[in-house]
């Protein structure tokens, strides 16, 4: 088939500036390209040519940033290149209408990484048309599928979850020989020998919940003396200022009864080392997260998981088998209870970790993602071959969807980089908080200025902002300098 993949307008593919969706597309494209003729259209970038063919895949790059600008570029392209059998749009239901107008006979797919069908993101009429026009909607978790049907119940028959995945060679079990060396080295370097290491991985932002985990240490320390908490990840530091959230966490950590170590920024190719050095993995997410990639990495690393009942996160954790699920994510005590159970029982930790690794090997590897996507593409190919009109058999497909529901996988790679568009928004919002740091002047005018800045933090939807921050060296991994780690040695 002749396939067009449409990326989002925010970041270019290949992911020279990071981004999980971009990484995902770049990851699957070469394999998909072996079976189909693929063109990828995405936003342009100074470091990439506007047109190129690489490893059999054709890349077309048009101006991005604002969706409206980007949409025009896509429309212009499609108007002169309309022979695609399948057009696969990533995370942008708002592109469907225009694409349909330019390509009346193409099959359209959507891949959803975020809840982009909510009213704040798309108006109901446009959303309805989008759902009507697409053949299938692939989601990265059941949660995202449910979030879509909340507003558009008619989408249900078209939904299919394809979970993400992990590189099983890079993330190796903590109990493996390969991990052992790294583990020893890191533990020595950070003075963690003899400690039970609890690992957090992700950006330091309120939604990710590091503060609750830090607070849980107060409860934990009463009964466990040899514990250390590692916060792997950074919050991009700018001009030596930090966001109020990072300050809040740091201020809490400085008074923590157990050592709290932040690694600062860890480059994408090194993050598996910290997983190898840990004993327990915690994802204290406070928000309705689509499904954090770190779960796959923890599983591959053979670590027991403590995660929260938020968004898609619990979908990959089998209760009491590869981890525990916290029901009240804001409650440090509940984290402490689960952590305490694990700290008291080394055998349980091991069993859970092994089970997680088994799950990763069986279900969450990279080939599976490609396989699943090819499967849905192939269904369409059959339809195209048999001249079955667009969008019939939706009900039959539903049956297929339910049958396949159990597995699925997806991508990963980029570490502290934004995982999704929502994450980018979140990052931008919190980056704006950097500006809040400015001291409040007595002068009234200055006070007003501070207030305005505080309002600015609410501006979350613009991509260019994210790039701007990155250009300044404070955002996505590739350009992100190491953030100054702060280590709480007082308690250590």
């Amino acid at each position: 088939m002749k396939v067009l993949i449409i990326c989002t307008e925010k970041l270019p593919v290949p992911p020279v500036r990071g981004g999980a969706i971009q990484t995902y597309i770049a990851g699957i494209a070469p394999f998909l390209g072996q079976k189909h003729e693929i063109t990828i259209i995405g936003r342009n970038d100074p470091s990439l040519p506007d047109q190129e063919t690489k490893e059999g895949i054709q890349y077309v790059r048009v101006p991005g940033g604002l969706l409206e600008t980007y949409r025009q570029g896509i429309v212009d392209y499609l108007n002169s290149n309309s022979s695609f059998d399948l057009i696969h749009i990533f995370n942008r239901p708002r592109l469907v209408t225009s694409v349909r107008e330019c390509a009346p006979s193409a099959r359209i797919f959507l891949s959803m990484h975020n809840d982009m069908f909510k009213p704040q993101k798309i108006n109901p009429d446009e959303g309805q048309i989008a759902i009507q026009e697409v053949e299938k909607i692939i989601t990265i978790s059941d949660y995202i599928g449910q979030a879509i049907t909340e507003w558009f119940p008619e989408a249900a028959p078209k939904l299919k979850t394809i979970y993400s995945g992990v590189d099983l060679d890079r993330f190796v079990p903590v109990y493996s020989t390969k991990a052992e060396k790294i583990r020893k080295k890191i533990r020595k370097e950070y003075n963690l020998e003899g400690k039970k290491v609890i690992l957090f991985a992700g950006r330091l932002s309120a939604n990710k919940g590091a503060h609750v985990l830090v607070r849980a240490m107060n409860n934990l320390a009463k009964n466990h003396s040899h514990v250390a908490l590692v916060l792997m990840g950074s919050k991009w530091f700018s001009d030596n200022r930090v966001t109020d959230y990072v300050s809040y966490v740091r201020s809490l950590a400085e008074r923590s009864p157990v050592p709290v170590i932040t690694t600062g920024f860890v480059s994408p190719d090194k993050i598996q080392d910290w997983f190898a050095a840990a004993d327990i993995f915690v994802c204290p997410s406070q928000w309705q997260e689509p499904l954090a990639r770190v779960h796959y990495e923890a599983m591959a690393s053979g670590l027991p998981i403590v995660t929260t009942n938020r968004g898609g996160n619990p979908e990959v954790v089998e209760r009491n088998k590869n981890g525990f699920i916290v029901e009240k994510p804001g409650d440090p005590k509940e984290f402490a209870e689960h952590l305490s159970t694990l700290l008291n029982n080394a055998q349980l930790c091991k069993e859970m970790g092994q089970y997680g690794r088994k799950l990763a090997e069986e279900k969450y590897h990279w080939d599976r993602v490609v396989h699943d996507i090819l499967e849905v593409w192939n269904e369409i190919e059959q339809k195209v071959k048999n001249n079955i009109p667009i969008n019939v058999e939706a009900t039959e497909e539903q049956v297929t969807v339910e049958e396949v529901e159990e597995q699925d996988v997806l991508v990963t790679e980029i570490e502290i980089a934004a995982e999704s568009d929502t994450e980018i928004e979140e990052i931008m919002e919190e980056t704006e908080e950097l500006e809040e740091v400015e001291k409040v002047e007595e002068d009234e005018e200055e006070v007003e200025e501070v207030e305005k800045v505080e309002e600015d933090e609410e501006e979350v939807e613009e991509i260019d902002e994210a790039e701007e921050k990155r250009n300044r060296g404070i955002f996505v991994c590739y350009y992100n300098p190491p953030a100054p780690p702060w280590i709480n040695t007082r308690a250590g």
Partner: protein, 370 residues
């Protein structure tokens, strides 16, 4: 322009070492480049104000066409374009008293260099600040009301973002509630600091105020009101006060429009009232009524919008604004000074509630009696 140097915030320490209007040389060079795009001869440039921490500034420039301002906007270009479009709209379509934008030689509103937008505007020589009394406050209120009314119907130019805070009120309110928890957590673990007990003794109260405001907003006509949409509501200055509203030729002028965004207009009014009450050292019902009346005359506040104004005033704005930085360096910030400040805020807050009670009934403004 791949290799073009990008403008970034500059070193505050350097600025302090030299003088407060220090500007990096590359930016000064860029400014000269920008000037070349205009049909004018610049004889003198003077830095008026800088936002070093964000990478923005204003020069007053003397030209053969008279005095003008040259501005480097710190926001991302698509955002700045929204504001420039607004300024142009207000001048051209509405004859509002905001400075006109001088077009470049090729008729554009701005020049883009260093990844930022620069523009030149008319310099209004006659401007002076209104007196810091009730009459001055009323003039400010009337002027911003007029601004809000005139800005309705604005459509941003192609390529500009749609800067709107209209739909974000619940989020903003909830953020204040969330941060109260942070403040409590910090005050608890730094309990040896002078201000901690004072903060802890009042945090529940201010948190409750914020929670109550969230609830009231949820039950108010807010969701109905925002359905009118951005353009119907028009633009809110977001940074309005005694220096961005000044008197001059023909009346009150509104300047520094780069933060404008679609919003419920009474956000500007709320900030003006809250700030003024802070200056007065206590809430004064007479002042507030006069201020709202002056605003109402220029841009009528109906019953529903009035209710939102009351809710916005009920947020612990003063406390939040002054104390939120506590999380940065608790061992420094939570000192005696903060303790006294919090005490002052609490005292002011005590005078607020009787006033808000009295204002709850808006029949004095010609509204329905509650």
């Amino acid at each position: 322009m791949e290799n073009e140097q990008l403008i970034t915030p500059w070193d505050l320490e350097e600025a302090e070492r030299q003088d407060s209007f220090y500007v990096p040389e590359y930016i000064v060079n860029m400014a000269h480049e920008v000037n070349k795009h205009y049909d004018m001869q610049v004889s003198h440039m003077e830095v008026i104000t800088t936002k070093a921490d964000k990478g923005g500034l204003i020069w007053k420039i003397e030209t053969d066409k008279g005095p003008r301002s040259l501005k480097l906007l710190h926001r991302r270009p698509t955002r700045s374009l929204f504001s420039l479009g607004a300024q142009e709209y207000l001048v051209k379509e509405k004859n509002a008293r905001v400075p006109s934008i001088i077009p470049t030689k090729d008729g554009k509103l701005y020049v883009e260099i260093g990844g930022k937008l620069w523009f030149v505007a008319e310099w209004i020589e006659s401007l002076f600040q209104v007196t810091k009394d009730l009459e001055g406050a009323k003039e400010l209120c009337y002027a911003i009301g007029e601004f809000h009314r005139l800005s309705k119907g604005y459509t941003p130019p192609p390529g500009a973002e749609n800067a709107s805070r209209l739909y974000r009120w619940p989020k903003t309110y909830n953020k204040i509630v969330k941060k109260m928890t942070w403040l409590r957590d910090i005050a608890t673990v730094y309990n040896e600091m002078p201000a901690s007990s004072t903060v802890l003794s009042v945090i529940d109260m201010f948190e409750q105020q914020a929670i109550k405001a969230v609830e009231r907003l949820g039950q108010s006509a807010y969701y109905e009101l925002v359905k009118k949409g951005n353009k119907e509501w028009g633009l809110v200055h977001q940074d309005y006060g005694w220096s961005n509203g000044q008197k001059g030729d023909g009346g009150m002028w509104i300047i520094d429009l780069d933060g404008v965004a679609y919003d419920l207009p009474i956000r500007d009014l709320q900030k003006l009232i809250t700030g003024t009450m802070d200056d007065l050292g206590g809430w004064d019902v007479h002042w507030i009524k006069e201020m709202i009346s002056a605003y109402h005359e220029a841009n009528p506040v109906d019953d529903q919008l009035y209710e939102i104004l009351m809710i916005d005033l009920s947020l612990p704005n003063l406390f939040y604004k002054n104390v939120k930085e506590m999380v940065y360096e608790p061992t420094v910030f939570m000192d005696e000074e903060l303790k006294n400040l919090v005490q002052r805020i609490v005292d002011i807050d005590k005078t607020k509630w009787p006033v808000l009670d009295e204002l709850a009934d808006n029949s004095w403004l010609g509204g329905k009696s509650k």
